[in-house]
């Protein structure tokens, strides 16, 4: 089962003070600038890459990180609700992990706020994600001579579950936006008009700001529930297990994703989700924590109507009265935050994995 880490109430406190009119406030928010360079240990990242695409690091060796975070979909998944570990469904959209290494808060509800080592652990051990007993995982890695060599080359010594949880985050660092027009400055005229709207009339910048276009805080935007969480019992049982573990009362009768509420247990936070990054959206449809919005046009349309319906909806969201051209321009701007697809061998492990574990010869003589 996963780990529940309280990111604390400070997040909440920070968001409450911000309910001001937009427009005039644009200058207050950090610009969407280029992402800083991350120092990467190549050997460790290479090892992490092989692990990320390897199904053998899940309990029944049936699912890899890359099965839910697919390179061709911006390392997200094209289904509204993520697949689950075999025998399970899921209740949230699988987010892009491109630029995850630049974040401070992870998961749609922001429940992990420590580091990617923790996030990786949660992914590996969660029943409905990879259901891996990490002791089995470690012994599998030790049985694969290629891993034994790679761990050594990376300076880890022999394979261990601790170093697996270091190598994968190192690889995640390599998944950073490359050549996005917003970074190279090669933006179309339409995208530039969209950027103005984004910072001005449309008010997006209030929440989507800084290099990742997120302030890392949680808001209620009124995204409609995805009923498939409840109508598909496989999704629902994963959701029940999650809600039970989070300690949410009356979880059997819950008919909505409580979102940020599970961190603060404050009813006012029900239905809040952490502002997502807006980079690489070109590849990562559908959108929102539950995949309820299919295209960027639809997202902009959603905001143009003032967001969804929820009594606790954030007061910043008001009908925007954008025209057809405005909407196109905003979409063009959103697209200008996506770079080249990260689908070549530089980011994707393309060699096949051995179909069987080779035997360790001379077993009775060598140390385990």
């Amino acid at each position: 089962m996963g780990v529940r880490v309280k990111t604390g109430h400070t997040l909440l406190a920070a968001t409450l003070g911000l309910g001001m009119a937009f427009g005039a406030q644009a200058g207050k928010y950090p610009d969407i600038t280029s992402l800083p360079d991350l120092k990467i240990n190549v050997a460790k990242a290479e090892l992490g890459k092989r692990l990320f695409f390897d199904r053998r690091i899940s309990g029944d060796a049936g699912i890899a990180c890359s099965d839910c975070h697919k390179p061709e979909n911006g390392y997200a998944h094209p289904d509204a609700l993520s697949p689950g570990y075999p025998g399970n469904g899921h209740f949230r959209n699988s987010p892009s992990v491109v630029n995850a290494a630049h974040k401070k808060v992870w998961m749609h509800d922001g429940r992990l706020g420590t580091n990617l080592n923790d996030v990786t652990r949660e992914m590996l051990t969660e029943d409905y994600i990879m259901n891996m007993d990490m002791r089995v995982m470690q012994e599998r890695a030790k049985q694969d001579p290629k891993y034994v060599q790679m761990f050594k080359d990376a300076g880890f010594g022999e394979p261990s579950n601790g170093s697996i949880r270091k190598a994968i985050p190192e690889y995640l660092k390599t998944l950073t936006s490359e050549n996005a027009p917003i970074d190279t400055g090669k933006m179309s005229a339409s995208a530039k008009r969209g950027q103005k709207l984004f910072k001005g009339k449309a008010g997006c910048i209030q929440c989507h700001n800084g290099p990742l276009a997120t302030d890392g805080k949680a808001y209620n935007t009124g995204v409609p529930e995805n009923f498939d969480i409840f109508l598909d019992p496989m999704n629902h049982h994963a959701f029940i297990a999650f809600a039970m573990f989070q300690g949410i009362e009356d979880y059997m009768n819950l008919k909505r994703d409580p979102g940020y509420y599970n961190i603060t247990m404050d009813a006012a936070d029900t239905g809040k989700f952490v502002t997502p990054s807006l980079r690489e959206l070109k590849y990562s449809a559908p959108y929102m924590h539950n995949g309820m919005i299919k295209s960027l046009y639809d997202v902009v349309g959603f905001y143009n109507r003032g967001g969804g319906k929820d009594s606790r909806k954030d007061s910043r969201l008001k009908p925007l009265k954008l025209g057809k051209q405005d909407i196109k321009d905003l979409v063009a701007f959103l697209e200008s935050m996506s770079g080249d697809p990260l689908t070549s061998g530089k980011h994707v492990w393309k060699d096949p994995y051995p179909a069987e574990y080779p035997v360790i010869e001379n077993w009775t003589q060598v140390k385990n």
Binding site: G87, D133, K142, P224, F230, K309, S311, N368
Partner: protein, 412 residues
């Protein structure tokens, strides 16, 4: 914890696992120290009064906090066959305890959770209700705690309690049946283990030829079997450990079973072998050097318990080959030859812990006829094969209607 593996990351992981699982099932429960009473019992010398005689099997004991009921038994039966009581919904109890494989698995090592192989032989469920100590090394103390451990172990069911409980709750027939059997609003996974235990208490066999004979039907055993019985109780000395109604003293002995060669030849088996050393709380040093199953040692941590296993019950053996904790013998003839050679296989292999080998195991000097008679007698401890059709599995169904969800959405 001082003798537990010290690699910090491993330790951290082990602790995490234990914390998160609440109590981590088969694997870690083995590493907790055995109660003092058990230790002293294991260490105690053979009772001076001589072994308990063979006896007909009575009713299985029923724990007062889990009385039998028809509703529980029926529920337990369905659950026993339901693979959703395992991590990826593929591996339930019956997956490794197949009714037509003697309620066990007909290979040396049990099949494992997908992607793994087990490291011990799968035991039959038949008569398990009688054993105060379960598993080859006696690490579980009841059918209830055994079932819980089995569903969760990394190479067995690999299922976490909360996901299994959540699954039961979206299967309306189970919700109904748990309510009837236990009176709870929603299924609770602990009650699943109780129901399965109740079902297992019905899987008993009390009408074997030996039982009939012991109850007075002198024609129930033929001449050969009677001769075997005499050897069993006399020259061959089997009765010293295999005694009483359950044909087991429930004590631990090293009888000289050699390690399974498969660990030298099969990569997947090597993975599980090392995993089990961790899972069973080996020291770092033990983990590095272990090359066979240390048996009862994992619980007692006494050097003299290395290679000791619970005296295996001998009932229903006709259907449960292969034999021994690691399945090294495929026939009862091989088993008898092994004992006749004083605890050596046909290649002269024996336990790696010869210093712990029971002094009761020594060459027997049996003739071929005597060996046949002994096998014939062993077979008289099995009755008819107990087969069972897999019950129909109840289906998942949504708990809410679309209209209810829409109303909730409206009310947001």
């Amino acid at each position: 914890m001082s003798n537990v593996i010290q690699t910090p990351t491993l330790l951290a992981a082990a602790i995490t696992t234990a914390l998160l699982a609440g109590c981590a099932g088969q694997a870690t429960s083995e590493s907790t120290a055995a109660p003092a009473a058990e230790k002293s019992m294991a260490a105690a010398p053979m009772a001076m009064a001589g072994p308990a005689p063979l006896a007909p099997l009575g009713e299985p004991p029923i724990p007062p906090d889990n009385l039998q009921s028809a509703a529980k038994i029926e529920l337990g039966k369905i659950l026993f066959f339901d693979p959703r009581l395992g991590g990826d919904a593929s591996t339930g109890c019956s997956t490794c305890h197949e009714p037509d494989q003697g309620w066990a698995w007909a290979e040396d090592f049990s099949r494992g959770y997908p992607g793994t192989v087990h490291w011990r032989n799968s035991q039959t469920i038949i008569n398990s209700a009688y054993f105060p100590r379960q598993f080859w090394a006696g690490s579980a103390s009841s059918n209830e705690s055994q079932a819980r451990g089995a569903a969760r172990g990394g190479v067995a069911g690999n299922g976490e309690a909360d996901i299994m409980e959540a699954r039961l709750r979206v299967i309306p027939e189970y919700v109904e049946r748990f309510r009837e059997a236990f009176g709870t609003e929603w299924p609770i996974v602990r009650d699943a283990w109780r129901a399965i235990a109740s079902f297992e208490r019905t899987l008993v066999q009390r009408d074997t030829p030996l039982d009939k004979y012991l109850l007075g039907d002198k024609s129930a055993l033929d001449a050969d079997q009677l001769k075997g019985k005499e050897l069993f109780e006399g020259k061959a000395g089997c009765i010293q450990c295999h005694n009483g109604a359950i044909t087991s003293d429930q004590d631990f002995h090293n009888i000289g079973i050699p390690p399974n060669k498969r660990w030298e030849e099969d990569g997947l088996a090597q993975i599980t072998f090392r995993f089990e050393q961790y899972a069973k709380g080996q020291t770092q040093e033990g983990y590095r050097k272990a090359k066979s199953d240390w048996g009862f040692y994992y619980r007692s941590k006494n050097a003299w318990d290395k290679g000791k296993f619970r005296t295996a019950p001998l009932r229903y053996l006709k259907y449960t080959a292969p034999y021994m904790h690691n399945g090294v013998f495929y026939t009862l003839e091989e088993v008898v030859d092994f004992y006749d050679r004083g605890g050596f296989d046909e290649d002269g292999r024996t336990t790696m812990f010869t210093e712990n080998k029971s002094s009761l195991i020594k060459p027997l000097g049996l003739t071929d006829d005597e060996k046949d008679a002994l096998v014939a007698f062993l077979e008289s401890m099995s009755g008819e094969e107990m087969l069972m059709d897999k019950p129909e599995m109840p289906e998942y169904a949504p708990l809410f209607t679309l209209a209810e969800l829409e109303a909730a959405q409206e009310a947001k």
